[in-house]
Amino acid sequence: METKVNDKANNKMSIKMPIKVPIKLSVSPGKVAVYTFLIVLAVLCFTPFYIMLMNSTHDNGEIATHLWLTPGTSLMDNYHSLIVSLPIWRGFFNSLFVATTTTIVSGYFSALTAYGFSRYKFKGNGVLYTIVLGSMMIPGQLGFIGFYQLVSSMDLINNYIPLIIPAVASAGSVFFIKGYTDGAVHESLIEAARIDGCGEFTIFNKIALPLIMPAVATMSIFTFIATWNNYLLPLILLSDMDMYTLPIMQVASRGVYKNEFGAIYTCIAISVVPVMVAFAFFSKKIIGGLTMGGVKG
């Protein structure tokens, strides 16, 4: 139905296209309504985090009976009862380790692969790159059972290797970084380095990698967040409490602290607050990066 109307309007418009006039700036009476709506929505977006922050500073009785809009005094008590039976900082640093190494592995090898596809005209380049792009369409769960059995037969359960090494093949990153490499690395620069006697890998490491670093950095932010947030894979691969990543440990905390709400809210805050602080500093870069390649699903 709509399209019929559209076509008519489009035809009508195309006749008048070349005429250009300054946009009329009228203060619409709806402006107040728009801002009210935006503020309500912003409050809605932030409320769960606010409740989390406030509740982490109140004791269990207070949380259970009231809705708190002001901070209380029980933050340290909650924190102490949390760390008594849950190695939460262990989980924090486990997550930090896994996310950092995965980001480095993914960033370096994605740049390497993207550079290989972008700058070398070898046989099968096009076909192999199509395979890389096609692999983004396949859901991770398809090979899930096989992956678990493979890891199990390699005796790598409770090991971070199966969480980190598969990041060598990150199709989305390769796609994103290749798009940047095509424009950022000039052939003449590589030729000059070759004449000076540089090896191919030296050229990549010393010349190409610094040039494509902005793309690698943007992609690294998203790799880091995705790894930090990953739940399903660590859930099946890690069974030893000392190896748990933060999300696994937090969900486990619900079993440990059945009714100690203050401790659990504090536990959630420990993973959420660093992300919020990081976002406060990098929000421009993160939001800008989202639309640079349009690759994140």
């Binding site: 559209n6 929505l41 985090f49 989390m52 692999s135 992300v275 639309t291």
Partner: protein, 300 residues
């Protein structure tokens, strides 16, 4: 091919740059996919050395499994109630923010996008306490403003449980879609809107005649990626219901069913078959989404 004559041509070296990628891809993706396919023809608890070959039994069981169909319905219900408001809010906000004169739009965009960055498992844990029927903040708020007279037991009801999951999905993703649509809107030439306003088109007419048709590729991209992501929904329903999909399997998603079958009930063969069923569904529905959204475009 003239390049080949260049003595500095090092084209074949490229293969060394991409070898690590393909080794990792074959070992950690291709091999597991093939191995899963092989396991799906077996009855196997994952531990014992002898797995029994059962042929297509797992697949015929899958076709007749009411729980599998239930999990499809659940996944689509939760996704469906989230995607409609998600797209609606995203388009509305993106259009508003496309007006460069708007004050504070960067701040609003950042706030709306923030929930997307937070660990879904932590979000689910947080919401499970906010919607706890005895002590949760949600009931506290509703009682305080006298919207309800007694606390609602959210996770006892089928639609309230699914509703909370849809709410979380909407909350986490509308900001993301908003930013993607914002990028799509930037590509629409402003001349079109100017011309339309000269012709006396109202804001609504410009919206339906210019914005929506020209934004169609972006909407398609968002719908397909959201569908693929939505059908793999796991973290939030799993954590909210403690892995049970309560009440009575009505919030059991497809991936939860796969996980529970393989890793809780140790039926790896059937779990692998569910994985392939999930893959086929994602394939089919991605194609349908493409067709539906492109249908109008084909006539132009």
């Amino acid at each position: 091919m003239l390049k080949r004559k260049n003595k500095l041509d090092k084209g074949r070296y490229g293969i060394f740059f991409i070898i690590p990628y393909f080794v990792a891809y074959i070992v950690f993706s291709i091999y597991p996919i093939i191995y899963s396919f092989y396991i799906s023809f077996q009855k196997w608890d994952g531990m014992s050395p002898d797995a029994t070959f059962v042929g297509l039994a797992n697949y015929s069981k899958l076709i007749h499994d009411p729980v599998f169909y239930q999990s499809i319905i659940n996944t689509f219900t939760i996704w469906g109630f989230a995607i409609v408001p998600q797209m609606g809010f995203a388009i509305l906000l993106a259009v508003w923010f496309n007006n460069s004169k708007m004050m504070g739009k960067e701040t609003f965009r950042a706030i709306f996008y923030l929930p997307n960055l937070i660990t879904p498992a932590a979000v689910a844990l947080l919401f499970s306490f906010i919607f706890d029927w005895q002590t949760g903040a949600a009931n506290n708020i509703l009682l305080k403003f006298h919207i309800v007279s007694e606390p609602i037991n959210w996770f006892l009801g089928e639609m309230t449980s699914r509703g909370i999951m849809s709410l979380i999905a909407w909350w986490m993703w509308f900001g993301y879609s908003m930013i993607i649509f914002g990028a799509g809107l930037k590509n629409i030439p402003t001349e079109l809107y100017e011309a339309a306003s000269i012709d006396g088109a109202s804001a609504w007419q410009s919206f339906t005649s210019i914005t929506i048709p020209l934004l169609r590729p972006t909407i398609l991209y968002s719908c397909v990626t959201s569908l693929i992501g939505g059908m793999q929904m796991f973290d939030v329903p799993y954590v909210l219901t403690g892995g049970t999909g309560r009440p009575g399997n009505t919030t059991l998603t497809m991936v939860m069913y796969l996980y529970n079958t393989a890793f809780q009930n140790l039926n790896y063969g059937y779990g692998a078959a569910i994985g392939y069923g999930l893959f086929m569904l994602i394939l089919i529905f991605s194609i349908i989404t493409f067709k539906v959204i492109n249908r109008n475009a084909e006539y132009e």
